[in-house]
């Protein structure tokens, strides 16, 4: 029973710090661009403001448009319960990694269905980009997952974390590749193609407003922190004392997000075909890593 309490506490803590991490990123981005930048809690203020406003539905929209933000949010919260964060305790069972991938995938599916249901053609374009990216990144994720499963002979996050102790080539390379995939998945420049603001006026999010928009944005922050958490725990050694985890975990998450934002600031947006091509070049690399992992190197 106390496990459930710990899991709920973890999820609640993640719900609180996810927008704060985005606030830190915005601050650092501003500093890199020689601006003063908003306060760290600015993302929270934005969200609260959005939650207060009613959302507007279009005349062409259907039920899917209204409910899909809530389903995406639920998917993300549930995915957060599957990963360890401030403590190492999480919902854990054989194959929870696949469920995790499915939850990420189904949030993309609902995002696409919801935004196309708004009836806006820009949303349709954005949704198509979203699906294309999501489908190809599922291939990359599945390959990385297969590498992890081959290295550890398991599909449980409990045993996959951390992947590093055998300091093999395949383990290190697969973590780096997973970090790249996570970067692509977290809608950061140069991969924020589905919601390209100047090009297709926010794409998938164009018709969403008020509460729906707030929930969608919140879900995106949650997705980012979910991916960060996975990367952090792939590296964080198991030997560190339990009491130190609540300090080390947020510190390393913030360090990771700072690294990401530094990359993001110096990038322009890729075209969708360039992004897909880039992702496709990763496939043979991952296959080679998988084969190396098979032979335990």
């Amino acid at each position: 029973m106390e496990n459930i309490v710990f899991v709920l506490a973890n999820v609640a803590a993640l719900l609180i710090i996810a927008p704060i991490i985005d606030g830190i990123e915005r601050k650092i981005k501003a500093k890199l661009q020689c601006r003063k930048g908003p306060p760290i809690l600015q993302t929270w203020y934005d969200l609260v403001k959005l939650f207060k406003r009613p959302s507007i539905v279009t005349e062409e929209s259907s039920l899917a448009y209204i409910i899909s933000p809530y389903i995406i949010f639920a998917n993300m919260v549930f995915a957060l319960a599957l990963v360890p964060s401030f403590t190492r305790i999480s919902l854990s069972f054989f194959g929870d990694v696949i469920v995790l991938i499915y939850l990420i995938a189904s949030s993309s599916i609902f995002l696409a269905i919801g935004s196309i249901s708004s009836g806006n053609v820009f949303a349709t374009i954005g949704a198509n980009r979203e699906i294309s990216l999501a489908a190809l990144s599922k291939l990359l994720m599945a390959l990385v997952l297969a590498t992890f499963a081959t290295l550890k002979r398991s599909l449980t996050l409990e045993t996959l974390f951390p992947i590093i102790p055998p300091y093999t080539l395949s383990a290190i390379v697969s973590i780096i590749l997973f970090a790249i995939i996570a970067y692509i998945e977290s809608y950061k420049l140069p991969f924020d193609i589905p919601e390209a603001e100047p090009e297709i006026i926010d794409g998938i999010l164009v018709e969403y407003s008020g509460r729906s928009l707030g929930i969608l944005k919140y879900s995106i922050y949650l997705k980012r922190i979910l991916l960060f958490t996975i990367i952090v725990y792939l590296i964080l050694p198991r030997e560190i004392p339990t009491l130190l985890t609540p300090i080390l975990y947020p510190a390393s998450t913030i360090a990771l997000s700072v690294t990401y934002v530094c990359i993001e600031t110096y990038c322009g947006r890729l075209r969708i075909d360039q992004a897909l091509k880039f992702m496709k070049t990763l496939v043979p690399v991952l296959l080679v890593v998988l084969i190396i992992a098979y032979f335990n190197y």
Binding site: N3, I4, V7, P54, S55, I56, V57, T58, E59, E60, S62, L63, A64, I66, Y70, I71, F73, A74, F78, S92, F93, F94, G95, I98, V99, I101, Y102, S106, I109, A112, I113, I116, S117, G119, N120, V121, T124, A127, N128, I131, S132, A134, L136, K138, L139, A142, L143, A146, A149, T150, R153, S154, L155, E158, T159, R211, I215, I272, D273, L290
Partner: protein, 651 residues
């Protein structure tokens, strides 16, 4: 037993077919549908009796009086019907899908009134169901081939039902020729079995007695037999490279018949694959790898080509090929894994076995539902072109919801049924430490591709703005709605309670699966079925469906959506008189282009294996005709065949 209860559905259907053929108008359809509904209910009753209460039905219908039996060694005068667990599982699927599609047909087929002979439809529809039922329950090779052929004949009449359309006639002709070719191979292998092995004893049990231990005694003959049977049945299962008939044939049939074709008829081959690989012969590793490889190729190619389609039913047909790949991959994986020693592998193997049969059931439900929704759109608009359709969710809310449920089920989104079977497949293949790992990865990727093209299917029909203005459209009549909602509910129930299908698969595994009961290796919870591997944390009766619904309802309760209505934002300019939409042809275009080499390879292979093959075939048949005219050449040919038969006899 003398009450012939297992033959009752077939008798009812034949009666219905004969009566309905007498009426040209609506009555022809109504009578056939009525009899089909009754017999579907009886099928469900019989199969549930078998699966849940372990009662096996067995009948022997004697066609000719007793005297002949002692004279003829071959029991052609007896129709031996036996519903064992494997048959019952497939009969149950047939019963549910045919119930839905018959109810649907009552209203749907009326759109052909004044254009077609409805009695002709009724006759063929009832007979098609009847022969499908008999194919599943017959326990005798000779009658199996007879019913198999009759099933093909009646279904190809249904494919070419709109016979004034040249495309439908052509599709039916292609379907018939290819199925016929497959059957010839089956007949050859059946003859080899009957002549060389079983001594003209045609019942399945007798053949099993002779084939079961054949692998050790005569591996060449066994592998040759399995290869012939596999090729023969993979035509109907539409495995690559014998899939080309399916995308032409399935869309041309009336939609409720397409539902049966895709939902059940292609599963007759899967049924026979289970019979061949688990019932007649022992599962072997190398055949497991071959089957799994073909399954992976099938699921990859079928799903990748589904992205390209802009015709609603053709997209669904390609998706059927892809989903058949999942079933076949799981079958092959289970054969490989159950031949590897070790408890871990036993668990993985039983998960793969369960996944295969579970996906058969799931695919039957959601694919027939998808065909029914495509049919509803045709019923109201007369259109199949995804480029011009759109925005129907406002006019047909219930149809759109059932289509959404079916699409999410195919895509394998958590609380729905496709998730559990696919999940079992991934968790059995990916950690297997064999080449199956990569197959599992491809399957996982293709599941995202499946989601992509079902988003295309759903949104182009129901969500995006249409390029035609529809006025005064209503949702479809009650009977059609009823069967859609019925199947949608089954999709949800099968997803939320995996224990229902898994308890039905468990007796099958007890009888034919070498590792025994699958339920001793799998832990079933609502919404998910876990393998009994490693550590399961305390709070693990995790209920994905319940968790998701709870979480979303909590968020809705805290932040209820408050709405104002507004028109679609179009950069501040009023474009209301123009149609602003994205045609289905441009959906996923960048994704298609990034995989362009696959499609160009497909084009080359099509040229080599289909166009050139047909040309060479015609040439060689001309040469053969020349040989047949020449007695000396014929004599040599017969001698060669005789020598070949002798060689096969050598043990």
């Amino acid at each position: 037993m003398t009450d012939y209860v297992a033959l009752v559905p077939a008798a009812i259907l034949i009666l219905g077919a004969i009566i309905s053929s007498m009426f040209k108008g609506k009555l022809g359809n109504y009578i056939s549908s009525f009899f089909s509904i009754i017999s579907s209910i009886i099928m469900c009753y019989l199969s549930l009796n078998v699966l849940l209460f372990n009662r096996v039905f067995e009948e022997k219908l004697r066609l000719i009086p007793v005297i002949t039996e002692s004279v003829l060694p071959i029991n052609l005068s007896v129709i031996y019907v036996r519903i064992d667990f494997l048959s019952a599982f497939f009969v149950l699927i047939l019963g549910i899908v045919s119930l839905a599609s018959s109810i649907y047909g009552i209203s749907y087929i009326n759109r052909y009134l004044h254009k077609q002979h409805l009695g002709f439809y009724g006759f063929n529809y009832a007979l098609f169901l009847c022969f499908m039922y008999l194919v599943f329950v017959i326990h005798d090779v000779f009658w199996f081939i007879v019913f198999w052929e009759l099933m093909t004949v009646t279904s190809q009449f249904l494919v070419s039902y709109e016979r004034e359309k040249a495309i439908a006639r052509k599709a039916a002709y292609k379907y018939f020729c290819m199925s016929k070719g497959g059957t010839e191979v089956i007949i050859v292998s059946a003859l080899i079995i009957l002549i060389i092995l079983s001594g003209m004893n045609t019942s399945f049990d007798a053949i099993r007695y002779y084939t079961r231990n054949l692998l050790v005694e005569n591996p060449i003959l066994t592998n040759a037999l399995i290869a012939l049977l596999f090729i023969g049945f993979s035509v109907k299962a539409s495995l690559i490279p014998f899939h080309t008939w399916l995308p032409d044939a399935h869309p041309e049939a009336p939609s409720n018949v397409s539902a049966l074709l895709s939902g059940v008829m292609i599963k007759t081959s899967v049924y026979m694959f289970f019979r061949i690989f688990y019932f007649f012969f022992e599962p072997t590793v190398h055949w497991g790898y071959i089957v799994a490889t073909i399954g992976t190729i099938t699921l990859f190619v079928g799903s990748m080509y589904a992205i390209l389609q802009n015709d609603s039913k053709r997209l669904l047909a390609f998706s059927s090929i892809g989903q058949m790949g999942y079933i076949i991959l799981a079958l092959g994986a289970s054969m490989v894994l159950c031949s590897i020693n070790g408890k871990e592998y036993a668990i993985l193997a039983s998960a793969a076995f369960a996944s295969s049969l579970y996906h058969v059931m799931n695919h039957a439900m959601f694919k027939s539902l998808l065909f029914l929704t495509a049919g509803s759109v045709i019923y109201r608009t007369g259109l199949r072109n995804l480029n011009v359709l759109g925005g129907l969710a406002r006019f047909m809310p219930l149809t759109s919801i059932s289509a959404l449920i079916a699409a999410l089920s195919v895509a394998g989104v958590p609380p729905f049924n496709g998730f559990v079977s696919k999940w079992l497949l991934y968790s059995s293949t990916i950690p297997s430490f064999t080449i199956l790992t990569i197959y599992g990865v491809i399957a996982l990727f293709i599941s995202a591709v499946t989601a992509a093209y079902f988003i295309k299917y759903f949104t182009t029909l129901f969500a995006k703005p249409s390029s035609i203005k529809f006025k005064g459209l209503k949702d479809v009549p009650t009977l059609m709605l009823f069967s859609q909602i019925f199947l949608a509910l089954i999709c949800i129930v099968l997803g939320v309670y995996p224990i229902i299908p898994l308890t039905m698969i468990s007796p099958i595994s007890k009888t034919i699966f070498p590792l025994g009961d699958i339920l001793s290796y799998i832990q079933v919870f609502p919404g998910i079925a876990l393998l009994k591997v490693g550590f399961v944390s305390v709070n693990s009766p995790l209920i994905i469906a319940v968790a998701l619904t709870l979480l979303s309802s909590i968020t809705v309760a805290i932040l209820p959506p408050k709405h104002g209505k507004f028109s679609v934002w179009s950069c501040g300019v009023s474009f209301r008189k123009y149609v602003m939409n994205m045609p289905a042809a441009s959906y996923l275009k960048p994704f298609e282009e990034s995989f362009s080499e696959i499609f160009s390879t497909g084009k080359i292979l099509h040229k080599i294996f289909v166009e050139d093959f047909i040309r060479n075939y015609l040439f060689s048949s001309r040469v053969l005709a020349k040989i047949a005219e020449n007695p000396a050449a014929m004599l040599t040919l017969f001698t060669l065949i005789f020598v070949l038969m002798l060689l096969l006899r050598i043990r």
